[in-house]
Symmetry: C2
Subunit: 275 residues, 2 copies
Amino acid sequence: MQTVAIFGVGLIGGSFGLAIKRAGFTGVVLGVSSERTIAEALKAGAVDRGASMDEACRAADLIYLAQPIGRILELLPCLDPLVRGGALITDAGSTKSAIAECAAKSIRRAQFLGGHPMAGKERRGAAAADADLFRNRTYVLTPASKEAMTSVVVSDFVGWLEKIGANIIVMDAAAHDRLVAFTSHLPQLASTALAETVDGRGDTRVAGSGLLDTTRLALSAYDIWKDIIATNRENIAAALDSYIEQLAAIRMRLNSPLLEEDFEKACRFRSGLNI
Amino acid sequence: MQTVAIFGVGLIGGSFGLAIKRAGFTGVVLGVSSERTIAEALKAGAVDRGASMDEACRAADLIYLAQPIGRILELLPCLDPLVRGGALITDAGSTKSAIAECAAKSIRRAQFLGGHPMAGKERRGAAAADADLFRNRTYVLTPASKEAMTSVVVSDFVGWLEKIGANIIVMDAAAHDRLVAFTSHLPQLASTALAETVDGRGDTRVAGSGLLDTTRLALSAYDIWKDIIATNRENIAAALDSYIEQLAAIRMRLNSPLLEEDFEKACRFRSGLNI
């Protein structure tokens, strides 16, 4: 891996550039983003220089797509004619099936490997880039087949993920999307709905700190969630159905000693979380 | 106020004792609890000595009930014959209507004033007592009437709440219980239900940190929540109904640009929280 091109040098893309440089990558890191973002990324030390899409595709062994999902879906069909034969294209989108389908249709000359780093921060943008963003965090890879993990370019990329401290989990794109509908997308919508439900009920100074925790995700930006929801709608609807069912069951048990089991099960689950 | 008796010297009771002592209270603070708890409270400096219920009632101008709600409801009818005429009995229970009704029936010789300090910590017990627990935190008082706030004993007590830094909000017991059903009890059950819903879906290393925030309350102990739910069941059921309705509305809008309004409303609410 000699030349890496990062498309979308925000928090994730910028952190990836910074992280591999800190981990000893001595090749060139190109950034493909707006002029302002490139300036920020240069200042953060996340890229060596900005490049056009054409130039980046001609030069790169690894193309790292860290834009919003919608932009990745638009971009993939344009990349194939431009990339070096045998290069690796990977992405960092929060849903994987739609991107995997799009890549399967449009990428012929390069190899594609979907990825989802489970890492983030409240701040966005390259200025918040952090060489340790991926350290001890789950990084899901969703190869189209088992064989897709065995190529030299993929081994090289996986080696860099290990060097930057990521905990790699390999699973298929559909299983990933079903799972994150529960572990990530449902908590987001549960929090949004909770904030809306509590809104207007009275003086919120009369509240516990638990309201802050449970509604923290309500601060999330719709522009990111729009694409996530659009590309995982069925799984999210199923997760919401299960949650509504669970809430209705708890409502039925408000008068019953069985409610203790709900608290115990929930406590056991939460105590076992290791995120 | 010369002698204060704290019944139940756990986190809240112990912190109240510690806080008034630090704020300059020079009278005697008696603790009524199990032997082990009194030993802990003495070590923490939260009480001057342990006392029996009879002794504490004979001596105290202020009786501060910091036990679980169920225990307060059992205790109130026993206190009236024992207390000094004109003493103030207050409590720190998380629901107020059941306690207010019980006090209205059983307390004749003393004055009763319901209270709810919106303060807490993950650790329980007098060993975790903290003189600053109430500082800058809401302390709801629920007098039976406006006149109930004007007596000398109440003014004296309110003065101490101010000295320990609490932000006092006066409201009636029923309004308090309706409000906390949304601001405190609903977040608890939403969190419990969320943990149960996500449980068993797969490898939770594939999750965002938002799952930790939204399920933190799932760690809460049922022994506290049992009494809260038993004394605020109708309001909690109504809050759950509203939440389920909101979730169902969001589910309907997964396919609609109107979902952006949900995110905006929720974000505005959360940004305005000042707990």
